[in-house]
């Protein structure tokens, strides 16, 4: 078993400040720039860490309104070096999925890339809440694979282990405490009734199943689940003007809104609520794993379960869907 490194809160904070700016969740669970390491709650904050990498509102360019050709000023990527403290494994794993979208070689998002390159991810092991299901996806609350450094809190400080070469290099700059043997990684929680992830192909094969409509009635397509989801990444482009200055913005969008797929001519392939609910489930549990073997569109953070105004439960829905598909397949066989 590898050793971890004992760090005092003060020496960690000094080393992080030495490196640059510092971000952490605030009392409302939103990510903001801080001067000192805050006390964290036991579980993941209300907002996922994606807010720092692909924020809900980001300027792409601006120009002055008026006659003649506009002088367009593209927004510059934020190259501030720094660290993000308090990243939970579910949110960090979600960034691996966002990387597939925003760092694909044919179309790199320079803003996202700058943030990913400049911000060190300092993970802190959590105490899972009642709707946390990272265990479903094969990792646990102290998983270090997607962060640069994983910290396990202890009295007066942390036990640190590196999750990446970059994290290793950072730890070398912190005055070393005693080496301590690391405990085995903790298993992540999963629902007691859960029996395993659905087969992506079987889900897609039931695209036209009537159950989507039955489930549809329990959902109002408010999209809160997508807005707080650490892996949801859809955006749209909009302009805003203020006192003669126009900003072009990339803003968050989501597949649950009725206008998400509405064409200019008024046609809408996802006209009814059930088709939008189906899109969310299939995207996360069928399309993404099919197109990116080894990745899933969900990391089990459970925010969608916590925040659903209608008390819907993504995992319970997926489980019920699979149970029905399997039962029907058995009946045919």
């Amino acid at each position: 078993m590898a050793d971890g490194m004992r760090l005092s809160r003060e020496s960690l904070q000094a080393a992080l400040r030495q490196r640059g700016a510092l971000w952490a969740p605030n009392d409302a669970g939103h990510w903001s720039q801080v001067e000192a390491l805050p006390e964290l709650g036991p579980i993941r904050p209300r907002r996922p860490v994606k807010d720092l990498f692909t924020p809900p509102r980001r300027e792409i360019a601006r120009w002055k309104a008026g006659a003649g050709p506009a002088e367009i000023e593209p927004a510059q990527p934020d190259q501030t070096p720094g660290s993000v403290f308090g990243v939970r494994p579910c949110d960090a794993r979600a960034l691996l999925l966002l990387d597939r979208a925003f760092l694909q070689p044919s179309c790199v998002d320079p803003h996202y890339k700058a943030r990913r390159e400049n911000l060190l991810l300092i993970g802190v092991a959590c105490q899972p809440g009642p709707n946390c299901y990272c265990g479903v996806f094969g990792f646990g609350p102290d998983d270090k694979d997607a962060v640069d450094v994983m910290l396990t809190p202890e009295a007066g400080g942390f036990v640190a282990q590196a999750g990446s070469p970059r994290g290793q290099a950072f730890l070398a700059t912190v005055p070393a405490g005693a080496a301590v043997p690391l405990a085995a990684p903790r298993p992540g929680p999963q629902p007691e009734w859960w029996t395993g992830l659905p087969d992506p192909k079987a889900l897609y094969a039931n695209f036209d199943h009537p159950m989507w409509h039955e489930l549809g009635i329990s959902c109002m397509n408010c999209g809160v689940c997508t807005q707080y989801c650490p892996t949801c990444q859809c955006f749209t482009i909009d302009d805003e003007s203020f006192k003669g200055e126009i900003q072009r913005l990339r803003i968050v969008d989501n597949c649950q809104r009725s206008d998400f797929t509405r064409m200019a001519g008024g046609h809408n392939p996802r006209q009814v609520a059930a088709s939008r609910l189906r899109q969310r489930v299939l995207h996360k549990f069928s399309y993404i794993p099919t197109q990116n073997p080894g990745l899933l569109g969900c990391t089990g953070c459970g925010r969608c379960v916590d925040l659903c105004p209608l008390d819907r439960h993504l995992f319970a829905d997926v489980f019920e869907i699979m149970k029905r598909i399997n039962q029907e397949a058995e009946r045919v066989a």
């Binding site: 409302a28 809900p56 509102r57 009635i217 397509n221 408010c222 105004p309 008390d311 439960h313 995992f315």
Partner: protein, 285 residues
């Protein structure tokens, strides 16, 4: 309660009075209470009603459901359904209101919801059938006037500052709109882009614009089900604004939303005698 609810629903099906019923069921796995639509009498055995049935099912009423549709309604929900009939969303005979005696709901599983503490409408005024014991329902513990007293006591400047701060965490997710049984515009003002009435991103100006328009659209229509505030993932107290407007409408137009069908209905009624003090007319003060 559950047994008599199920029997009532089965009877409505067998007598041919409904083709579908919107109700509540307990999810077999998550144990959470979710909305369900049943179309066969035998499925009535999944229906429940208890203090976990927090949502207002009137939001799920659409004309593409098999009609006539039965709907399980608490007092506030029934007022909303009544309002939608008054507004012409549905013909009276398309809806069968299954009124349940409601002693209030507990969204957190423990304490009575704030909205229920001031409830004067434990049984829906729109009721084709009534289920449960309506004789021993609780009296309100507080009044709407008490709830909004702190807003009313503020100066206009203090009030403006209060709301600006209150709207700050809004992310424009519009869950408050989706959950509202009376947000029934064909195209929401915020989804229009020609002209663009409300900018799409969260900032003080657009937050204020959204919440002002939302509240004004509900003046004289809001039934105080409080779903908007319950649904908000950021805890914006927007329902307080609806309550302030409800108080004004009651005072100025002598109208209490959803309580009876028809009647004086401020939003769609033109009356030369309408109070117009805001125009500086003779009713000023």
């Amino acid at each position: 309660m559950n047994q008599s609810l199920r029997e009532t629903v089965k009877r409505l099906f067998t007598e041919g009075k409904v083709k579908s019923v919107l109700g509540y069921r307990e999810h077999p796995l998550s144990k959470a209470v979710v909305a369900t639509l049943i179309t066969r009498p035998e499925d009535a055995d999944t229906l429940i009603f208890d203090d976990r049935c927090v949502q207002n099912l009137a939001r799920a009423l659409t004309r593409d459901l098999p009609l006539p549709v039965g709907i399980v309604v608490k007092g506030c929900d029934g007022c909303a359904v009544s309002m939608r009939i008054t507004e012409g969303d549905f013909a009276r005979e398309q809806i069968v209101a299954i009124a349940v005696a409601c002693a209030g709901v507990r969204a957190d599983g423990k304490t009575l919801d704030e909205r229920c503490q001031r409830c004067e409408m434990h049984v829906s005024p729109l009721a084709d059938v009534t289920v449960g014991d309506t004789s021993s329902l609780p009296k309100p513990e507080k009044t709407r006037a008490e709830t909004i007293a702190k807003i009313k006591a503020m100066t206009p400047a203090e009030r403006f500052a209060f709301w600006q701060k209150a709207f700050e965490p809004c992310t424009h997710c519009y869950a408050c709109r989706e959950v509202c049984p009376l947000c029934n515009c064909a195209v929401c003002v915020t989804d229009q882009n020609a002209p663009r009435w409300i900018e799409q991103t969260a900032k003080p100006s657009s937050n204020l614009m959204w919440h002002m328009i939302r509240a004004f659209h509900h003046a004289g229509r809001c039934v105080d089900c409080g779903e908007c505030q319950r649904a908000c993932p950021e805890g914006v107290p927007m329902h307080l604004l609806d309550l302030c407007l409800a108080e004004d409408v009651e005072e100025l137009f002598d109208f209490k939303t959803g309580v009876k069908q028809g009647g004086k209905w401020p939003f769609l009624l033109f009356n030369p005698e309408d109070p117009d003090s805001w125009l500086g007319g003779p009713h000023r003060g």
